[in-house]
Symmetry: C2
Subunit: 497 residues, 2 copies
C-alpha cells in the first residue's frame, strides 16, 4: 500500500517539478533574452505557470496520499520518509494559506517593489516605510495560519533554512561579531592598502573565455548548463540544466570572474544533487545556507587562495598581457583579497560582508519583536554602520534602502548568507584535513578531489539533512563561527601583516 | 447571450495561446541554447506542455460555447464570426481524432524521423519506405475521422492552406511549369555564368552586424523580437516576441544574409498581426502560403533587387573591404541572383525552386491517388529531376530522401512554398503599381511604404481571408502564376541576356 501511494505521489512531484522547471526557464529568459516590449506576454506566461504550479502543489489528492504514507511511516525506507516529510512541510505551508491572503501578498509585493525602487531613486525612506510595515503584518498573519504565532520570525528563518531559528543565529552571530571586529581593525589599520583601480581595459571576450576556462576546471559541467549575461549575476535552473549569468566591466575583471565562480558554486551543488531525484526532496538543496556555503567556498576559500593563483596567475597574465604589465604579483593578489569599508553589502569583501548581515539580522529580529519601529529604521541602521563598519551611509538610498529583499517582504533570508560563510569555512578545514595535499592539487589546476568530497559529504544528501545536522555529518562539528574566524585570520592577517 | 459566450470563449483562447507561446519558447530554446545533456528534461517539459495545450484545446466547454455562438450567428459581428469559424475548424480537427490515434501518429512520427535520418545517412531508401506507407495510411485514417474520406490529399493541403485543394494547385502548377521551363533554359544556356565561390573569409561578427542593420531597416522590430544562431534558420514565437535564427559561414555571407531576410519576412508578418488579437483568429496568420509570400517577397523581390543593392552595396563593401576587393559590382549582383542546377531544394535559387516543389506535389498527389507506389518513388523522383532540372540525383540520399517533411508525415506542406512564391510576385506588382516610385525609396534604404502597404493589405486581416480570397482582396486578381513568371523574366532575362 505505501509503495503504490509513494509511486502516485512521486508522479505528482514529477509534474510539479516539470512545471516549476518551465517557470524557471521563463524567468531566466526574461533576464537574459527578453526583448523590451515583450514583457506583457511574459507576465501572462508567468502568471499562468504560477497558477498551474499552485494547482499542482495543492492537489487534494496529495493530502490523502500523505496521510496514508504517514500512517504507515514505519514501512517506509529512511529516504522515503524524507520525501514524505518534505512534501508535508511544503504542502501545509502552501495549502494552509487562504487564496485571498496569497493574492494580497502578491499584490503588496508588487506595489512595494515599485515603491521601493522609486523611494531608493528619490532617497525617500518615508515613502517606502508603510510597505515594510505592511509586509511585517502579512508575515505575522501567515505565522497565524501556519501555527507559528508565538515565533513568527523563526518561521521566516525556517522558510529559508529549515530547522534554524533566531536564538541559535543570535548566539552564532554574537560570537562571530566579537571575534571579527578586532580582525577587521587590524586589517584596516594596516599600512598595506590594496588598490583595485589598477585594472583597466580588459576586453570582454577575453574575460569570458578566461572565466569559462576557470569554471570548467573547477568542475562545472557545461554539458548540463551554460553561462550568459544579465544585469545582476544569478544561478537558475536545476541540475539537469543550469543557467548561470554574469556581467562584464572592462575596468573590473575581478567582478565578473568572482561572481561567475560564486554562481558556479551554486551550479555545481545543483549538478551534484542526485539527478534521478530532482523532482523530490532527495534531489533538492538542503536550504539557502547550505547553498550559500557552496558558492562561497569556491569563490573565497578556493579561488582567492595563493594555491589557486599560483596556477592561474600565469594564465591570467598570458590572456591580459598588456593590461597586467607593471602590476606586480603582490599587488594583484592583494587586489583579489582587498578589504575595505564599503556601505554597500553586495560590493563588500568577505571580511566585512558578515557585519552587513549581522546588522540586518538584528534589525529584522527587533522589528518582529516590536523592539524597533519601522520609522526608526534609518537612524538605527546608520548608528550600526557607524559602530560596526565605521561608515555611516551618505543617505538612505545607500543605507537602509540598498537591498531589494525587504521590498518583496523577504525577511529571514539575510542570515543564510552568513550561515553559509560559516559552513563554507567549516567544510574547508574538514576537507583540508581529510584530503592531504589538497592545495598542491590547486597549484596544478586540479580541483577534482574537493568537488568529489563535496559531492559525497554535501551534495548527495539532498534535503535529507538540514544545515545544523549537515554541518555535524560533514565536518564532525556543530555549526559555529570558529572556522570562519580561523580562516579569515589565516588568509588576511599575513597579507595585511 | 452571444456576447458573454464570446467573452468566455475568448478567455479560453487566451489560455490556449499562452500555453502555446510557452511551448514555443521551449522549442526555440532547445534549438538555440539547450546544453547537450539537458535533452531529457526538455522532452519532459515539452510532453507536459503538449498535454496541457491538448487539454485546453479540447475543453468540452468550448463545444457548448461554439454551439451557442453558431446558433446566434446573425447577432455576431463579422470579425466575431471569423473567431467562431476558426475555433470550430480547429476544435473539430482536434477533438474528432481519437486519443489512441493521435498517440499512434506521434509514435510513428518519432520512429519515422529516426528511420529517415538513418536511411539518409546510409543512402538506403528501402529502410525508410515502410514509414512513408504508414504515414499515408495514417493520413487516410485521419481523413476518415474528419469526414474527408473522398479527398484525403485535399485535407492535407487544407491543413496547411485553408480553402486550397489539389485540383486548383494542379492547374496553377501546370501553367507555371509550362511557362517556367523555357525561361530556365534561356538562363542556363546563357554564356553569363555567376560565380558564388568568390566569397572568402567574411568574419562572422561583421556578418551579424550587417544583417542586423539590414533587417532593422526592412522594418523588423527588435524591441519585440531577436535573432540568434541555430543549425537551421527558422522563425518562431508570435508578434509579441519573435525569435528568429540564422547560421553563419565565413565563405558564404549571402546564405546567412538572405536566410535572415527570409525569416525577417516571416517575423514582420507576425509583428504586423493585430497584437490585441494574437490569441484568436483575427491575430493569426492566414496560412502557410501567405506566410511564405511574406518571407519570399522580402528575400527575393526586395532584397535581390538592383534598387536594394544600390543602397547596400557601398555599405557591404565598407564592412567587408578586403574580402570584396577585386569583385566587381556586376559579379556581386550576379552571385546574388545566381541560377544553377542544384539537386537540393533548400540550396536552390528562386527560379528552380518552383520545379522542386512541383515534383513533390505531383508525387504526393499520385501517392494519395494510388497512382504511384512507395517502392517506385526513387525511380519516379529521379526521372522527374532529369526531365525538369536536367540533373538526376547522384543517389537517394540527395534525391528522394533529402527533405525532412515526409519523415514526420507532413504531406500537403510543400505546395505552400510555391503558392507563396506566386502570391509574393502578385503582391509585388500590386504594390509597385499602387506605390509609385517605390524602388527609388529602396535606393535610399527606405522600405517603410512597402511594409505599411503589406500591413494594410495582408497583415491586418489575420485569418479573416484565406490565400485565394486574400489574393483577390490585396491584388485585385485571382491567385495565378502570371506575376511570378513576369517577375522572373523581368529580373533574370536582362541579367543572363
Amino acid at each position: 500500500m505505501p509503495a503504490s501511494a509513494l509511486t502516485i505521489l512521486d508522479e505528482k512531484l514529477k509534474r510539479i517539478h516539470t512545471l516549476g522547471s518551465i517557470d524557471g526557464l521563463l524567468g531566466w529568459d526574461e533576464q537574459v533574452n527578453l526583448p523590451k516590449e515583450s514583457k506583457d506576454q511574459r507576465q501572462n506566461q508567468k502568471a499562468l505557470m504560477a497558477l498551474l504550479v499552485h494547482e499542482a502543489n495543492t492537489d487534494p489528492e496529495i493530502a490523502k496520499l500523505l496521510a496514508e504514507l504517514e500512517d504507515s511511516r514505519d514501512e517506509l525506507a529512511e529516504s522515503e520518509q524524507v520525501i514524505v516529510r518534505e512534501k508535508r512541510r511544503n504542502y501545509d505551508r502552501t495549502v494552509k494559506l487562504p487564496a485571498e491572503f496569497v493574492e494580497r501578498c502578491t499584490r503588496t509585493s508588487s506595489e512595494a517593489y515599485h515603491a521601493w525602487a522609486k523611494a531608493r531613486a528619490n532617497n525617500d525612506f518615508k515613502a517606502f516605510a508603510p510597505y515594510i510595515q505592511k509586509h511585517i503584518e502579512l508575515c505575522l498573519e501567515s505565522a497565524g495560519y501556519l501555527g507559528w504565532d508565538d515565533r513568527p520570525y523563526d518561521l521566516m528563518i525556517d522558510n529559508h533554512d529549515p530547522g534554524m531559528d533566531a536564538s541559535t543565529i543570535a548566539a552564532l552571530f554574537s560570537e562571530l561579531k566579537t571575534d571579527l571586529l578586532p580582525i577587521l581593525k587590524q586589517i584596516l589599520d594596516s599600512p598595506v592598502k590594496p588598490d583595485v583601480s589598477i585594472f583597466k581595459g580588459f576586453p570582454v571576450k577575453k574575460q569570458e573565455a578566461f572565466l569559462k576556462d576557470v569554471t570548467k576546471s573547477l568542475g562545472f559541467n557545461y554539458e548540463r548548463g551554460r553561462i550568459d549575461i544579465s544585469l545582476h549575476p544569478f544561478c537558475s535552473g536545476n541540475g539537469a540544466d543550469i543557467r548561470m549569468t554574469t556581467r562584464f566591466h572592462e575596468d573590473n575583471p575581478l567582478d565578473s570572474l568572482f561572481s561567475s565562480i560564486h554562481e558556479t558554486g551554486h551550479g555545481m551543488y545543483e549538478q551534484g544533487l542526485p539527478i534521478e531525484y530532482l523532482h523530490n526532496a532527495l534531489g533538492q538543496a538542503a536550504g539557502m545556507g547550505v547553498h550559500e556555503s557552496q558558492s562561497r567556498l569556491w569563490e573565497n576559500q578556493v579561488s582567492r587562495s595563493k594555491a589557486f593563483w599560483k596556477f592561474y596567475e600565469p594564465k591570467f597574465r598570458e590572456t591580459f598581457k598588456e593590461q597586467l604589465q607593471g602590476i606586480s604579483s603582490e599587488d594583484l593578489y592583494l587586489a583579489i583579497n582587498a578589504v575595505s569599508r564599503n556601505p554597500i553589502r553586495v560590493d563588500s569583501d568577505e571580511v566585512t560582508y558578515n557585519l552587513h548581515i549581522i546588522i540586518r539580522f538584528e534589525i529584522e529580529k527587533k522589528l518582529f519583536a516590536g523592539e524597533l519601529k519601522v520609522a526608526d529604521l534609518p537612524e538605527y541602521w546608520n548608528a550600526q554602520y557607524r559602530e560596526l563598519l565605521g561608515i555611516p551611509p551618505k543617505n538612505d538610498a545607500e543605507g537602509v534602502l540598498q537591498d531589494i529583499h525587504w521590498s518583496y517582504g523577504s525577511f529571514g533570508y539575510f542570515p543564510s548568507y552568513c550561515l553559509g560563510n560559516m559552513l563554507a569555512a567549516q567544510l574547508w578545514y574538514a576537507a583540508l584535513e581529510q584530503l592531504p595535499g589538497l592545495e598542491s592539487d590547486f597549484e596544478k589546476g586540479d580541483f577534482s578531489r574537493l568537488l568529489t568530497w563535496l559531492r559525497e559529504n554535501v551534495h548527495q544528501h539532498g534535503k535529507t539533512y538540514y544545515l545544523k545536522e549537515l554541518s555535524e555529518k560533514a565536518t564532525g562539528q556543530p555549526l559555529s563561527p570558529k572556522s570562519l574566524i580561523r580562516y579569515l585570520k589565516d588568509r588576511y592577517l599575513p597579507l595585511y601583516q
